[in-house]
């Protein structure tokens, strides 16, 4: 008896006892659907969170001036010259984005907005995706000429002007401490704060990007306290980090004043936490799959007893032990496989509904389908093995005599 014929015959016998088959499948359906719901919500949540970070480049080493012991002298601060040096001397480095910053107010005649003022270069767009809603971002010549221009984010723009287009060309006054500067708005960028910024509303500080060279005038005590160094890849980032620190120490003739660390270590950690969380809940849901499997085994044992005479007849007609084994194993496999497929559809639908309610996109991957089919087949075979073996070992005479 070949496999496809046992499949057809197993399907017939599953159909012959519809209600019983359905109740047996129910355990598998509940098990598979809960595992799939949880895994796809976990996956979706992870993708949503990682998506927030997607705007930022991830092959980044952050170089900081250490502020320990307040022993930083004037000559220890990073310079634009250092940035160029790192870019030129270390081949793994693609771009260095230096930054200085201050906190202050961006004012028009009528209103003002508290904001972070970042002195940056045009290269910052390589580090983070800045979506322009109007106008343009800082250009290389803005940096070189130290022009009095500013790019504000849409939170600031919303507060001070009506529409992003209205902001372009307007004069604003940037006040940081005692320093006041008049700058022209040349662009409005989408806020990098994302949903978080929306939630905090007006309390969330805005951002203004100005040329780092202009920053020397606008931001009092403007010092470059950080480089974001972008690399080709992170393969030997530790080595590159120590090379950068070494180069800076040589240039500034000091020691122990700089640190260089991977920019997104926290991301890996977050990733791990979500994975563990998903796995734990998934495992708990998986227990119901085991319970379902025991239900399948129970029904298969009943079925073997009920059909003892059939087994005897089949053996008398020439069925080998393996034929009987295959027949019952196929039945339990089919019960679980159908249960698995129903459970999968149910799990995906449930995941979609829950995902909609808690507002995350669902991560239904092909691996989820493989998981469902694989798991339910495994349960079917594992819990079908004992009843099928019992059926195969029946003595033909005893079985034929069974009433």
């Amino acid at each position: 008896m070949n496999i496809s014929e046992s499949f057809v015959s197993a399907l017939q016998s599953v159909r012959a006892n519809k209600m019983r088959s359905f109740l047996t499948m129910l355990g598998i359906i509940i098990g598979i659907s809960s595992v799939i719901t949880i895994v796809s919500i976990g996956q979706g949540g992870k993708e949503a969170i990682l998506g927030e970070f997607d705007d930022l480049g991830t092959n980044v080493i952050n170089v900081n001036v250490k502020s320990v012991d307040n022993e930083i002298e004037e000559r220890d601060y990073l310079t634009l010259k250092d940035a160029r040096l790192v870019e030129e001397k270390i081949p793994e480095v693609t771009t260095v984005v230096p930054a200085s910053y201050g906190m202050g107010n961006i004012k028009t005649d009528k209103d003002k907005k508290f904001a972070e003022i970042d002195g940056v270069t045009h290269n910052i767009t390589k580090l983070m995706k800045l979506e322009m809603l109007a106008g343009r971002f800082l250009s290389e010549s803005d940096i070189e000429a130290a022009r009095n221009v500013i790019v504000i984010d849409n939170i600031t723009s919303k507060k001070l002007f009506k529409r992003p287009e209205d902001a372009i060309g307007q004069k604003v006054k940037v006040t940081i401490g005692d320093s006041n500067s008049n700058l022209t708005v040349i662009g409005v960028a989408k806020s990098t704060g994302g949903d978080m910024a929306e939630m905090f509303g007006d309390n969330y500080p805005g951002v203004g990007y100005i040329p780092i060279t202009t920053g020397e005038r606008v931001i009092p005590d403007a010092r470059i306290v950080m480089f974001s160094v972008m690399l080709e890849n992170m393969d030997n980032s530790n080595e590159v980090a120590s090379k950068i620190v070494h180069l800076l120490e040589q240039t500034h003739r000091n020691k122990g004043k700089y640190s260089a660390e991977e920019g997104f270590k926290e991301l890996d950690m977050l990733n791990n936490v979500i994975n563990i969380f998903t796995m734990v809940i998934g495992a708990i849901a998986g227990i119901s799959l085991v319970v379902g499997g025991i239900g399948v085994m129970n029904i298969m044992l009943v079925s073997v007893t009920e059909r003892t005479r059939e087994i005897g007849i089949r053996k008398a007609l020439g069925a080998k032990n393996k034929d009987i084994m295959l027949q019952f194993l196929t039945e339990s496999l089919i019960l679980c496989l159908i249960g698995g497929i129903i459970g999968m559809s149910l799990g995906i639908s449930l995941g979609l509904v829950v995902g909609k309610i808690i507002n995350i996109p669902l991560g239904v991957s092909p691996s989820v389908i493989l998981l469902a089919v694989g798991f339910s087949s495994a349960v079917g075979i594992f819990f079908g093995l004992y009843p099928a073996n019992k059926a195969a070992k029946l003595d033909p005479i005893e079985a034929l005599r069974y009433e």
């Binding site: 014929e5 008398a316 020439g318 069925a319 080998k320 034929l400």
Partner: protein
């Protein structure tokens, strides 16, 4: 010679006591014979039937079926022998209730590994031969007792076995159906099919050509049937 049994013994070990169901039985059956095995219940005839049908193993002695010594074969080899060399007809018909007549007749060929189209063709031919050409798609519960037994005979025939073993084939049938079934056996035997039939009814045994009578696990007589009942039959 199709069946040769030498000094066959069968002992059932029930733990506390040992029951000797067959002791030192020797029997030969030639090709194309039509033999009745008779005896009261407990005489050992059913035990012999099970051993001849390769459903049970013997305790001592030798059993050679169609030139194969089956006393030494494994379970799987015995299954193959049952499939190819033996056709069973049971008192209780033993059809599978979920399958149609056609499906039931197909079953031995499924285990023989025949293709679906070969199976269908042969099963149809076998059912037509027993006069059920118009009942092929009926399930057992839609058939009368006589019809069920005819399906069982078709199933027994379909792999062209060396012998047909019939265990009280008319035990559950009324007189008229019994006569019909015996006619079919008669016809088959005339075509050269070897038949061994267990029965305790003398008038059923009268249809056969030879009667072997058992008592207490031993053969007490082995004789040709005089005054055979030969009814119309196919080739009477």
């Amino acid at each position: 010679m199709i069946i040769r049994v030498e000094s066959l013994t069968k002992v059932y070990d029930t733990g506390a006591i040992q029951v000797e169901a067959l002791s030192n039985v020797s029997l030969s059956i030639e090709r194309e014979e039509y033999v009745a095995i008779m005896g009261a219940s407990g005489s050992g005839k059913s035990t012999l039937m099970n051993i001849l049908g390769c459903l049970d193993r013997l305790t001592g002695g030798k059993y050679i079926l169609d030139n194969v010594d089956v006393s030494t074969l494994s379970d799987n080899e015995l299954a193959a022998i049952r499939n190819k060399k033996i056709g069973f007809v049971f008192q209780a018909f033993n059809l599978l209730p979920r399958l149609s007549a056609l499906g039931n007749v197909e079953l031995p060929m499924v285990y023989a590994g025949l293709t679906k189209s070969d199976r269908l063709q042969k099963a149809k031919a076998a059912l037509e031969k027993v006069g059920l050409g118009d009942r092929m798609h009926h399930r057992p519960n839609e058939l009368s007792g006589g019809q069920k037994q005819r399906v069982a005979i078709a199933r027994a025939l379909v792999n062209d076995p060396a012998i047909i073993l019939a265990d009280e084939p008319t035990g559950n049938l009324d007189t008229k159906s019994s006569e019909e079934i015996m006619d079919i056996f008669e016809g088959l035997n005339n075509e050269g099919v070897t038949i061994v039939m267990v029965t305790h009814e003398r008038d059923i045994a009268q249809h056969t050509k030879r009667a072997v009578v058992f008592r207490d696990g031993e053969i007490i007589s082995d004789s040709r049937i005089e005054n055979r009942i030969i009814r119309g039959g196919n080739n009477a």
